[in-house]
């Protein structure tokens, strides 16, 4: 078959699977909502113990991080994420998956530059920009307190 580059691109675009926005969004809504409702359930469950409220509030994300890391290790997280899309990405489960997944892929590069460094491939930028913006807020907040 003899085709030029332009025709080939057109051919590819026609063949490429369209990402069905409505279906994706619906799946993200249901799965993300379910994770958040599950978190609310954990909070209610831990709330029944004698633990102080602050500890309960910390234990909920800790549990979600653990479950997401474990399911990434078992290889089931990716299968679920293919369906759920942003539904598993946006909750803190996505953060935990982003820590474990690249670390497992590059385990062969060793414990320091493989696991140790790759854990932060995506988590790193999240922490960097999060801390930067919160520090900026802290300075502005401090200035407002001092000046007003």
């Amino acid at each position: 078959m003899d085709i030029n580059e332009k025709e080939y691109k057109k051919y590819c675009a026609g063949r490429a699977k369209k990402s069905p926005v409505f279906k994706d969004t619906f799946a993200a809504f249901i799965c993300g909502g379910a994770i958040c409702a599950f978190a609310e359930g954990l909070k209610a469950l831990y709330g029944m113990t004698s633990l102080p409220e602050d500890t309960v509030k910390m234990l909920v994300p800790v549990t979600l991080v653990f479950l997401a890391a474990l399911s990434t290790g078992l290889g089931v997280f990716d299968d679920f994420a293919k369906f759920a899309g942003a539904g598993t990405l946006v909750p803190i489960t996505g953060f935990a998956n982003a820590v474990v997944s690249p670390a497992m892929d590059d385990k062969s590069e060793g414990l320091i530059m493989g696991v140790g460094a790759k854990m932060f491939t995506i988590a790193g930028p999240v922490i960097v920009y999060g801390v930067l913006s919160s520090a900026l807020y802290g300075v502005i907040y401090w200035l407002c307190e001092v000046l007003l």
Binding site: V65, A96, P125
Partner: protein, 118 residues
């Protein structure tokens, strides 16, 4: 009732992210950074706290809630220790999540064998 609102609000944040991914081609890493930064901003201007009070884990579980914890941590620390709190508060507020991600992430990476790359 709080389960329903956690479901709806949390689901809505995820749905918005999905629309962004599908229509603008933003990568998941950019979405996460965007959401955390947005969470800090919304908390700073006072919009996010009412959402947290209303939707509970529906607001704290998405990465926006990570930004909320950063900003709340900073505010508490600045109130207590002054300007130095701008540096210490964020990581204090998010220490449980980050600590868990590092410790569990490391252990799980060591225990399980990854799938070979395609």
């Amino acid at each position: 009732m709080e389960f329903l609102w956690a479901f709806i609000i949390g689901g809505a944040f995820c749905a918005v992210a999905q629309i962004l991914i599908d229509t603008t081609g933003l990568t998941p890493a950019r979405i996460l950074v965007l959401y955390v930064t947005l969470g800090v901003f919304l908390t700073a201007v006072g919009i996010y706290k009412p959402i947290v009070d209303f939707a509970g884990c529906g607001a704290t579980t998405p990465l926006l809630g990570f930004g909320y914890s950063l900003a709340e941590g900073v505010r508490t620390a600045v109130d207590k220790n002054g300007l130095i709190g701008a540096l210490t508060g964020g990581l204090t507020g998010t220490s449980a999540g980050i600590g868990a991600a590092i410790v569990f992430g490391y252990l799980i990476t060591l225990i399980f064998k990854g799938k070979p790359r395609d």
